[in-house]
């Protein structure tokens, strides 16, 4: 990683941002690195190779990982031009793991119901999934949207389970987890864009009338369209707030846990008398923060889902 030890100093920001950012390989421990495939579309066509070809600043097929500049840590060509990079990075692999888990879990449960019908009471994992699905379907989608909620229920379920699974996997420190997926703006942005589509693209005419010609005194909408402008901005701030809330919450959680862990390495240079008690403090705080993050993982998935459901409900019942 980029945690370089210069003159015995620990590069704390390097460690932390290295962990919460993306990388081309999956670092498990010193010497245990899983190389991941790089897929690059540049001027010379498509190039596919494993990321260990680029280790330690090596150049392969004219590509290397930039040390500094706008693209620091990313693959660039010799001229410093960034190709269209759809490499299976750590976050992408985590994303695929989440997707596989989701499909396996939900389709497996659906298969159980296909096989056993509704007369048999489920237990174990199927029972848990049934409780979760029922909760999102009835207490979130139906309660917030009301009539016609069935159209949006599968989307809300997908987004809830996706965020929840990503959050929980992010809390596992070793391989199948640990990537900072829901703390990445690209992921939360995509979730928010789907929410934007769900809110706006299926809304009735009254919703658009309430934005562009709201029911307010005339001087507020003509000649200066003050209220329409505010309403129009509101259409975009809603999903934007969803993006930032999820991203910032999960990233902050990862940063705090990493910073608390780093206390051990910082105090290691200050002698055993300081290091020993600080290690105890660090471990205790880490346990506490992990419990808190477990809670946050559920809360953020729930908040994203219920806010989206509420926005959809508002668009339909105005």
């Amino acid at each position: 990683m980029r945690a370089s030890k210069e003159e015995g100093k620990v590069d704390i920001p390097g460690i932390i941002f290295g962990h919460i950012g993306d990388s081309y390989e999956w670092h498990i421990a010193e010497g245990a690195v899983i190389p991941l495939p790089c897929i690059l579309i540049g001027d010379g066509g498509v190039d596919v190779f494993m990321s260990d070809k680029l280790e330690h600043g090596q150049t392969y097929k004219g590509y290397h990982i930039a040390d500094e500049g706008d693209y620091a840590g990313k693959i660039v060509t010799a001229e410093g031009v960034r190709p269209f990079d759809i490499s299976i990075t750590k976050n992408v692999l985590e994303l695929l793991i989440v997707c596989v888990l989701l499909c396996w879990g939900v389709l497996g449960v659906a298969g159980w119901y296909r096989k056993n019908g509704y007369r048999k009471a489920p237990g174990g994992f199927v029972g848990v999934m049934e409780a979760v699905v029922n909760f999102i379907d009835k207490d979130v989608a139906k309660a917030s949207i009301g009539h016609g909620y069935e159209r949006f229920s599968p989307y809300l379920l997908t987004v809830f389970l996706f965020i929840l699974t990503s959050n929980l996997l992010g809390l596992i420190p070793v391989f199948p987890g640990g990537a900072n997926l829901t703390g990445n703006i690209a992921v939360t942005l995509t979730c928010a864009v789907t929410a934007f589509i769900a809110i706006n693209f299926f809304a009735p005419k009254e919703y658009y009338k309430s934005i562009f010609w709201p029911d307010v005194p005339m001087f507020l909408k003509a000649p200066l369209p003050i209220m329409p402008a505010i309403e129009f901005i509101g259409v975009f701030t809603k999903p934007f707030s969803l993006t930032i809330r999820l991203f910032a919450n999960i990233m902050a959680g990862h940063i705090i846990i990493l910073a608390l862990t780093c206390i051990v390495f910082v105090t290691a240079q200050m002698g055993a008398a300081i290091c020993a008690p600080m290690t105890v403090v660090s471990v205790l705080f880490c346990i506490f923060m992990n419990c808190l993050e477990l809670l946050v993982a559920f809360i953020q998935a729930y908040v994203f889902t219920i806010l989206t459901a509420n926005f959809i409900g508002l668009a339909h019942n105005e």
Binding site: D85, T89, V106, S153
Partner: protein
């Protein structure tokens, strides 16, 4: 730090995989589960309702049977009372009939006894008259003239006795 600029590669994969996952789950995943949950809910509600109906039916049947039983009891009492009355009536009628027929028989007997007595008396009278005539003839020794007149005289005498 480029934490706030979304990476195009990850964006690409995210859009692709989210779309695929959403498609798969929305088509073959969640509808099946939600449908099963709803069906089970309906089934449970229906079972509760039918159990309630069965209970109500049972209660109504019980009430009906009790009513039937009490009805039968009152009817039975009425029938018994009626039968007793009928019995008394029959007995009374029989008694009355017996009385009447007995009275009739007594009356008839009395009449026939009276008639018999009259006849016997008549016979005795005529016998006595002829006897008296015979005796008188014997006493006198000759035959009386005009026997019929004699007989009339004797009967007049008997009546005067």
């Amino acid at each position: 730090m480029n934490l706030l600029t979304p990476d195009p590669g990850l964006l690409f994969w995210m859009v692709l995989s989210f779309a695929v996952v959403f498609f798969l789950l929305a088509r073959w995943g969640f509808p099946v589960i939600v449908k099963a949950i709803n069906e089970r809910k309906e089934f449970i509600e229906m079972s509760l309702l039918s159990a309630k109906h069965a209970n109500e039916k049972l209660a109504s049947i019980q009430a009906e049977s009790e009513k039937l039983l009490s009805d039968a009891k009152t009817q039975q009492k009425a029938i018994i009372a009626e039968a007793l009355q009928e019995k008394q009536k029959i007995v009374q009628a029989a008694q009355e009939e017996a009385q009447t027929s007995a009275n009739q028989m007594i009356d008839e007997a009395k009449l026939s006894i009276q008639a018999e007595k009259e006849r016997a008396l008549q016979e005795v009278r005529s016998e006595v008259a002829s006897l008296a005539l015979d005796i008188a003839e014997k006493v006198i020794g000759e035959r009386m003239k005009d026997a019929a007149l004699q007989k009339q005289t004797i009967e007049k005498m008997i009546d005067e006795l």
